[in-house]
């Protein structure tokens, strides 16, 4: 068996979510040959390829697709690239993280290959048996893939921790090969163009990998008040999250949203302030190890999933926490 992983890289390194995909791919079987596909251009791509090749012994091969059209995560060239590689490599599985990139590209590629993708997988019980949440996580659905190869899957990185690196790393780095792009992207070329990415500069950890997350809801009342939460996050070395209500009210940008349609997180500690606990929000954080809720309303549904609840005015509780919490190194 063989697996192709659609890799994502940033600043010359594989993203942690891609390592989660490597973890998931490892559960397809011991004799699984795992290839990571990386696309883009320039020195960052080459550096990421070196990183991928030496990051873990289960990775058998790194495929590098060097083309300007792959610099940005446009679905059209990426899906065509997957199609091209499947024709050459006849992989048993094609897998990616359930990131905005994976969600955009993998189903398109699956349709071109005439197979049903299985998205947002949280558990691989057997090689073709997958568990995925439905109804915002209020039910779990077990599905069996019965179709032709490739079996195409996106995985939730919170459910597949990156593989641990073996202590004695003696194995040599995996081979890196360049993908022949001479026959690539003639038909769909140019129908979509990437213009720009607007993202917030922040020195906070990324929501997806943070050990601690502090989240604000409608109860924060304003963008100004979110700065209070920022201070607490700084003290804890935490990432800041938000509910849909807080994003809709323009307190914070969209990429902070945690929930069914936002980010799915599972930190060690999740602290929710002024969050009522709508099922759509719970869907995004219910797998956190320890959940703390601070809310004025003792009947807020968030208390039903919280390990520790504090019924209090958050404008008093947050400053007190900032004052009393130990300093993080």
């Amino acid at each position: 068996i063989s697996t192709l992983i659609l890799g994502e890289h940033e600043g010359g390194f594989l993203k942690p979510s891609t390592l989660s995909a490597v973890s998931a791919a490892s559960s397809f079987g011991k004799d699984n040959s795992i290839s990571i596909l990386l696309g883009g251009s320039g020195s960052d791509l080459q550096k990421a390829a070196l990183h991928a090749a030496s990051t873990h012994p289960v990775i058998s091969q790194v495929l590098v697709a060097d083309a300007n059209i792959l610099m940005h995560p446009l679905a059209e060239p990426w899906a065509d690239l997957v199609h091209l590689l499947q024709k050459k490599g006849a992989y048993s599985y094609i897998i990616s993280a359930s990131s905005s990139f994976g969600k955009n590209v993998l189903p398109r590629a699956a349709a071109i290959l005439d197979v049903s993708p299985i998205t947002d997988v949280i558990e691989i019980s057997e090689p073709y048996l997958f568990v995925r949440p439905i109804y915002a996580g209020n039910a779990l659905c077990t599905v069996r893939y019965t179709g032709l190869e490739p079996c195409m899957v996106t995985i939730r990185s919170t459910s597949f921790p990156p593989p641990s690196i073996p202590t004695a790393v003696e194995s040599s780095a995996a081979p890196i090969s360049q993908v022949d792009l001479s026959t690539f992207y003639k038909e769909t070329g140019g129908k979509s163009r990437w213009l720009k990415l607007t993202s917030q500069e922040t020195d906070r950890p990324d929501l997806g990998n943070a050990r601690i997350i502090v989240t604000g809801g409608r109860g924060l009342k304003s963008a100004e008040n979110f700065k209070l939460l920022d201070k607490l996050a700084e003290k804890l070395g935490a990432a800041v999250g938000a509910t849909r209500a807080a994003v809709d009210a323009n307190f914070v940008p969209n990429d902070l949203q945690v929930g069914q349609t936002g980010k799915i997180v599972a930190p060690e500690l999740y602290m929710a302030f002024g969050v009522s606990g709508a099922i759509q929000h719970l869907a995004g954080m219910r797998d956190s190890k320890v959940i703390v809720a601070v809310n004025k309303d003792p009947d807020a549904p968030i208390f039903q999933v919280a390990d520790y609840g504090l019924v209090a005015d958050l404008f008093e509780a947050i400053p007190e926490l900032i004052e009393k919490l130990p300093e993080k190194k």
Binding site: A110, K196, I212, K289, G309
Partner: protein, 252 residues
């Protein structure tokens, strides 16, 4: 230019779903059903494009059992000009089949835009729009939070909600757009429009008429309840909270 919008009938977003005791699925009988919220946003966007002169006609399509006509009535009451119901009877059709049916509809209707919700709140698949785009080889703008149509140049500029912020891309028409939550605020159907919608036409089609072969390459084995979190403790002060986090949960 014509805009086609796909709308799905799902369990209403406010219903607390219950898993059936035999684990075959989620209880859907005697449960309030509504148009998928993301589909409402898709329809609203199509209506706004028409009202701004960007399109001449909005066609709503729904694929599913007989009761989908209720969802299409809602679409007509909101302002869609026409509706098409692809009646598949009581069977469940999965995203790849839905995408193939939509491709057949698009080939017949020849719209400049096909707009869909980014996901349905029942199966949370988030696949269909991308799959129709792949089948048609049309460009796709998924998870859209802003759409600007340029009729003269036949392009759409789409702002997308992505993991790291907001991405802007430009698509040549015809194209496919899937909608995120913040694209617009869908309108309510007014009573006069609900009355008017009763006389609008819902065209019925079958998969045989569309010449689409339904194949299934996966099966649902079981649907279960998620693990329940055990009830927690209510603490009374910030000091007690910090103490518990340090000495009981060991997360600080």
């Amino acid at each position: 230019m014509k805009v086609v919008v796909a709308v799905k009938r799902v369990v209403d977003y406010a219903v607390k779903v219950r898993v059936k005791p035999d684990k075959s699925g989620v209880e859907t009988s005697n449960v309030k059903m509504s148009m998928n919220p993301f589909c409402e946003i898709a329809l609203e966007e199509a209506l706004r494009i028409r009202e701004n002169g960007g399109a001449s006609e909005v066609v709503a399509v729904s694929i599913g059992p007989t009761q989908c006509t209720e969802t299409l009535r809602t679409a007509l009451a909101m302002g869609a000009d026409r509706a098409v119901h692809v009646d598949v009877g009581p069977i469940t059709v999965y995203p790849l089949s839905v995408a193939k049916i939509l491709r057949a509809i698009v080939e017949a209707e020849k719209p400049g835009l096909l707009i869909l919700g980014k996901q349905a709140i029942d199966d949370d698949c988030n696949q269909t729009g991308q799959m129709v785009a792949g089948l048609l080889k049309w460009p796709q703008g998924t998870f859209a939070s802003k759409v600007i149509l340029n009729k003269e140049e036949q392009i759409a500029t789409v702002e997308r909600e992505v993991d790291s912020g907001l991405e802007t891309i430009c698509l040549d028409l015809p194209a496919i757009i899937t909608t995120d939550l913040r694209l617009n605020q869908p309108r309510y159907a007014t009573l006069p429009n609900i009355m008017k919608a009763k006389s609008k036409v819902i065209k019925k089609l079958t998969v045989e008429e569309l010449n689409v072969e339904l194949k299934s390459d996966f099966e649902v084995c079981q649907v279960t309840e998620p693990p329940v979190r055990k009830a927690g403790t209510i603490v009374s002060t910030v000091d007690e909270l910090i103490d518990k986090l340090k000495n009981e949960a060991h997360v600080l």
